[in-house]
């Protein structure tokens, strides 16, 4: 079975291209896609989408109805296309990839910072500056607190993880001592 990401990629690329060239704007499309993904995630809607008894046109129609005025002409066409190819279930993955492309375009990087204690603003700003310098992109920080880290922070940016927590160091120490 092919990866969901591989299946979703052509659609995400197409939507992204449309969003840029059509003049609707990335933000608008971000909102519309977000709405569609949230709708599709609802139990009742999901059952309809997955049902073989309902025709593709009917599914597209229903979905667009639920979307209401928020969806423009092109978005409706997109929904119709997905329905015709039986790919409505890919919407969450399409949205994810669209957001990634949007971030890349706007040179924004989503960074998650988990710390053991609350960070004050100067700390957060300091981290933000260093990360901006390192990744060469504008950094948007989401922060969280996890006492289990004992101390320090864990910074996650996409695939890259910088584990500066005390718990992380203890784990590495344990592994190293166990091996030797």
């Amino acid at each position: 079975m092919a990866e969901l990401a591989t299946l979703a990629r052509p659609y995400a690329n197409a939507v992204f291209g449309t969003a840029k060239s059509s003049g609707d704007g990335l933000d608008r499309w971000s909102r519309m896609l977000g709405l569609l993904a949230a709708t599709v995630a609802e139990d009742a809607v999901r059952r309809v989408i997955e049902s073989p008894a309902v025709s593709a046109e009917a599914k597209a129609f229903r979905l667009c109805e639920l979307g209401g005025d928020e969806l423009n002409e092109r978005a409706r066409n997109f929904v119709g296309l997905l329905a015709a190819n039986h790919r409505l279930g890919l919407l969450p993955e399409i949205v994810r990839q669209f957001e990634a492309l949007k971030d890349l375009e706007e040179e924004i990087l989503d960074v998650e910072i988990v710390s053991a204690f609350d960070l004050d603003d100067s700390d957060v700003q300091g981290l933000k500056d260093r990360l901006t310098k390192r990744f060469q992109r504008e950094v948007v920080i989401t922060s969280d607190v996890d006492a289990a880290l004992i101390g320090g922070v864990v910074i996650r940016a996409g695939d890259t993880v910088i584990d500066g927590s005390v718990r992380g160091r203890l784990d590495r120490l344990t592994e190293a001592l166990k091996q030797s």
Binding site: A5, D159, T160, V161, D163, R172, L177
Partner: protein, 514 residues
Amino acid sequence: MQQLNPSEISEIIRQRIEKLDISSQAQNEGTIVSVGDGIVRIHGLAEARYGEMIEFPGGIQGMALNLERDSVGVVVLGEYEGLSEGQTARCTGRILEVPIGRELLGRVVDALGNPIDGKGSIDAELTTPIEKVAPGVIARQHVDQPVQIGLKCIDSMVPIGRGQRELIIGDRQIGKTAIGIDAIINQKDSGIVCVYVAVGQKMSTIAGVVRTFEEHGVLDNTIIVAASASDPAPLQFIAPFAGCGMGEYFRDRGEDALIIYDDLTKHAWAYRQISLLLRRPPGREAYPGDIFYLHSRLLERAARVNAEYVEKFTNGEVKGKTGSLTALPIVETQAGDISAFIPTNVISITDGQIFLETDRFNAGLRPAMSPGTSVSRVGGDAQVPFMKRISGGIKLALAQYRELAAFSQFASDLDEVTRRQLEHGQRITELMKQKQYSPLSVAEMGVSLYAANEGFLTDVAVDKVLDFEDALLAYMNAEEAEFMQRINESGEHNDEIVAHLRAAIEKFKATGAY
């Protein structure tokens, strides 16, 4: 062993901690999306490199072998039962490495270099990646130093040189491993370090081999890399490369090493299993398309490197010495079919083969080497002059014997010349038999073969030939010990030596003590 007192223990631990570097570094992480059959698919890990070591929770390691757009296919080097979907996997930034060095001599390790003989940890200072490029053309030197196997049939007819690859091929239970073990036993005092790689074998067999080495006093000169049949396929796939890396340590420092891959058939099976599970397209006999490259890149690393290479590698510490790694790969055939896929592949890669036949084995001719189809493409260049001159006629005599063998039924009706040729061939064939774990020195082999060539055996009954040989060698080792040692040390061949030899054998025959 003395008991450590508490303060010593904490001191050791403190030293270890101080040596460690546990500072945080940026690492690439991914999430496991599927686990099964020893293969793990990971989402993320955008910066994984081919062959990189991937770390899983619990210290389990894997090797990234499939780099696809949206996932990385990783083979797990160990037990994968503890892994589950959703766990994080981390890049280590290191291509798969194994420990190397003299500390490994005398030890039994698994494919990753971890000791499995219960003799404590191995504190190797150096590691090396398992995948390395073989030495280039300019770095190589012609093979002209012998590796004495200690078996008459091999050292006389298919001599092996330092840096050569010689394939040992035959059906099951025919004595392939026995030749390898005899080769290692004969390296006790030759200065050649040995590596024995066991791939896919029974643990009991491997234990027996280790025991044999120990009994014959060669364990301290040997590294044993064991990936038994119960080890996961990725470990069986890696084991020969790990052993090769360990052998290359000696090659690159101007020393000589011998490596035995036992056997490459099971290695090919393990690689086929991994490739099929990674969904790579299957080819002939379901092997992946790069099965030839698998063995060719492994065997190309067995070479003789010149002194300039060694000097450059050791930064000028070792000058004027060439290094070598000799490989004896073993391949198992089914019903003697050497035209199957893997046998033909490996035959075309190696510099010759020792072909063992079931018929000869069953007829009591052991080692069951077939002189007609066995070949060494290095040949006489890898023999000391003494052996080269004396064993010159053996292969020809046996070839002529084979041609006339059909006529042996009419023995009484044949002309003198033919009958003599037949009898000579029979005696040489009988002489080629040798017991396991009884290697002969160059001098001993030379004496035996000289006696056969010069007709000293014509009046000895065929079934008494081996007894004659035993008695002759015992006599020579007792009465002519100095002469034998001189031959072993110099290996030279001249008229004076030949005359001395002839006189000695005539004296022995005169005593009639056989």
